[in-house]
């Protein structure tokens, strides 16, 4: 049991280092899109929600799971779309409007 936790911790800590390395030099221009893009990525809880909602019958866990899926999907779909819209404006000043 501790083995799994330890591997998880390794992955967690190393991923944080990767994240810090990647993001440290972000230009301020992209702060908002980075935030909303990262925000969409945090909707990865969707994967957990799918596991939680695998029972077809009406019971507390499946209803909680369905709500979790809905919330996570709002986060994912909305987050990626809105980031794309924003980034479209950054590059699209040549004849987009």
């Amino acid at each position: 049991m501790m083995g799994v936790l330890l591997i998880g911790l390794y992955v967690f800590v190393l991923a944080i280092f990767v994240g810090v390395e990647i993001i440290t030099k972000i230009p301020p221009t992209l702060h908002t899109p980075l935030m909303s893009g990262a925000n969409a990525i945090s909707g990865i809880t969707l994967v957990g929600a799918l596991y939680a909602a695998q029972q077809g019958e009406v019971r507390v866990s499946s209803i909680l799971g369905a709500f979790a899926i809905a919330c996570a999907t709002i986060n994912v779909v909305g987050g990626f779309l809105v980031t794309d819209r924003m980034l479209g404006m950054f590059g699209g000043r040549k004849g987009k409007r």
């Binding site: 230009p27 925000n39 990865i44 909680l64 809905a70 996570a72 987050g79 479209g88 404006m89």
Partner: protein, 475 residues
């Protein structure tokens, strides 16, 4: 066949994690940002497909309902939202991510313990680490959810920026955290009956929800960039905690990436205000009681669009200093119109962007990008500050604390030490503002009385429009 598919799942998860990292890397450069976002979206799709493959033939009723409802709400909100309402939108999306993490952890407690009626504590049934992270997931997810909702309400103006009634908030916050951790530990290791697991899980969720409100409610509008970044980071940490509950590395990796990126943004925002995170969360300007002091102005020179246009007519270099007021007045298009007019007359035009101008990291950049301002004209503080010396006119539109010279000259000032835009170096300054009211920090702005400053009172958009008309008339 099925066995082959089952072996494919971890490979797909790995692919997804790699693509998340590449996508995030893409988001750090203007040229590759859009592609980076698309790559991250692809990574998400792969992770979802892998999960569905892993689940195999199950009843998809709830999954479909959740996906369709959530997808529709998310898509409509993302496509309909005005660019000026972007901080609110980001806060709401963030909140729904936090809520999802808390709901997943609750669902798992119900699925594994409450519904089958399994005896034993979550630590015994799920495993120690999974039980512990389930409690963290519920708590952090709950805080993220209500914290984001309160941030949303504040940003959209439904809630006052700085309520003064929560004077004892440090005491409340610290006792709330102790209680939350106590309840969480009891839930994990003490609650041995399904009924008590259910009860304490709900109590914990309620504490998380209340804590989120208490944490964000007393924080003022000017500190919003810090809070939004912090909530962003928390939503990642909540996702990672859910990953620990499920022993799922994709969740852990992407949660950690988001947590790290949010934390870096938080740090950048704090540096932009020369404050520590603790100071933003646990102390506020109001505490120091400098607000009631000397806020009388004696030497304010007001001016008109007409007069300003005459000065601008001869200006060779102009720098705009946008602030939150620009967003409130939705004056970004009018600013660009004025800038275009000045450029057509041969002047050089730049925009000075303070790291914490606005209500979220990068707020001004998004706002001006919407008005098709070329991003080469947007200059960050360190690059633009030396330029003020050779600038004819600085036009401050809806910014206040970020140009307050007190940050450099008055050690007693609560904003002393905060890096500011050195507009006083320029030959003349026009400040477009509704009134002499203080900024969010509630302190006097010496710039109003500076010999180079002329105030133009009025709505930013209206004043800028008048300037455009006057300049056109002079041509």
């Amino acid at each position: 066949m099925n066995e082959l598919l089952a072996q494919l799942v971890p490979v797909l998860y790995l692919l997804s994690a790699v693509l998340f990292i590449l996508g995030l890397k893409g988001l750090t450069k203007v040229r590759s940002a859009r592609r980076g976002n698309a790559i991250a979206a692809l990574a998400m799709l792969i992770a979802v497909v892998a999960t569905l493959v892993d689940l195999g033939a199950i009843d998809y009723r709830w999954i479909l309902i959740g996906l369709v409802v959530g997808g529709a709400i998310g898509a409509v909100a993302a496509l309909k939202v005005e660019m000026t309402a972007m901080p609110e939108m980001v806060a709401l999306f963030n909140g729904s991510g936090g809520a999802a993490s808390a709901l997943v952890a609750l669902a798992i407690l119900w699925f594994d313990i409450v519904e089958p009626g399994t005896a034993g504590t979550p630590a015994e049934v799920l495993g120690g680490s999974n039980g512990l992270t389930a409690f963290l997931s519920i708590l952090i997810g709950g805080v993220t959810f209500t914290g984001s909702v309160v941030a949303y309400l504040k940003l959209s103006g439904s809630l006052r920026g700085r309520p003064g009634w929560l004077a004892a908030r440090n005491l409340i916050n610290s006792s709330a955290s102790v209680v939350a951790v106590g309840v969480g530990l009891y839930l994990t290791y003490g609650a041995g009956e399904p009924a008590s697991v259910a009860l304490w899980a709900l109590v914990l969720a309620a504490i998380g929800l209340v804590f989120g409100v208490l944490l964000v409610l007393p924080i003022g509008g000017g500190d919003m960039p810090v809070v939004i970044s912090l909530l962003n980071s928390l939503s990642g940490v909540a996702a990672a905690a859910t990953g620990f509950v499920l022993d799922n590395n994709v969740l852990i990796i992407s949660g950690a990436l988001v947590g790290a990126s949010g934390l870096i943004l938080t740090q950048i925002m704090c540096r932009g205000m020369n404050r520590t995170l603790g100071h933003v969360l646990f102390a506020d300007f109001g505490d120091e009681d400098l607000t009631g002091g000397d806020t009388e102005y004696t030497n304010v020179r007001s001016s008109s669009a007409e007069e300003a246009a005459l000065v601008l007519e001869d200006a060779e270099s102009v720098i705009f200093v946008p602030g939150y007021g620009l967003a409130v007045a939705q004056a970004q298009h009018t600013v660009r119109e004025l800038a275009d007019l000045l450029i057509a007359r041969g002047a050089s035009v730049n925009y000075a962007i303070h790291p914490v101008a606005g209500r979220m990291p990068g707020h001004m950049n998004v706002l001006l990008a919407e008005a098709d301002v070329p991003y080469e004209q947007l200059k960050e503080m360190d690059r633009v500050n030396p330029d003020f010396k050779t600038t004819d006119v600085a036009i401050v539109v809806g910014a206040n604390d970020v140009v307050n010279p007190a940050a450099e000259t008055t050690p007693a000032s609560p904003i002393y030490g905060m890096p500011i835009l050195k507009v006083t170096d320029s030959r003349s300054i026009f400040m477009i503002k509704r009134s002499l009211s203080p900024g969010y920090a509630g302190i006097k702005n010496e710039l109003f009385e500076h010999p180079h400053t002329r105030m133009i009172f009025g709505d930013a958009k209206q004043v800028l429009q008048e300037l455009v008309d006057e300049l056109k008339g002079l041509a």
